[in-house]
Symmetry: C2
Subunit: 86 residues, 2 copies
């Protein structure tokens, strides 16, 4: 069993209007020290053991096809092996 | 200057229908090893140095008031100090 964390963010060159809006709201709350906010998506995925293919392969396929729009977004992931005692 | 990463997720007891929908889609793509997907929000925040208050204080106030709905969501954050050379 694996716990996988996937982070999807807009590429640097892509404007993030949602982040801009949040930054405006934060400034209106008086927090002028906030210079920049970028908003992304975060996925916590539980993957069971499989013999056919590697977890990396599974996660990358899912990210490319479903979780991220690879034209505008980039993703990174962390895989953590979880030991199970039965 | 600080780089702060904030992760906002639904609390364990709260249903995540968006995650359920993605899990269904992933299964239809043939990835039956995916057991669970929970979807959250991810913020990358740049905070400049300030003398008045600590970064922790700023981030927690923003999270409590704006970024997370603390009734249904919990958040965690990582603060990274960035050295600037002028």
């Amino acid at each position: 069993m694996y716990n996988v964390k996937v982070y999807v963010t807009y590429k640097e060159s892509i404007l993030d209007p949602q982040g801009e809006a949040v930054r405006g709201a934060v400034h209106r709350m008086g927090f002028d020290e906030i210079e920049d906010i970028r908003i992304g998506k975060y996925f916590e995925i539980k993957v069971s053991d499989t013999d056919d293919r590697s977890v990396e392969e599974v996660i990358e396929t899912i990210c490319d096809k479903l979780l991220a729009n690879v034209v505008m977004e980039s993703y990174r992931y962390e895989i953590e092996r979880v030991k199970e005692t039965v």
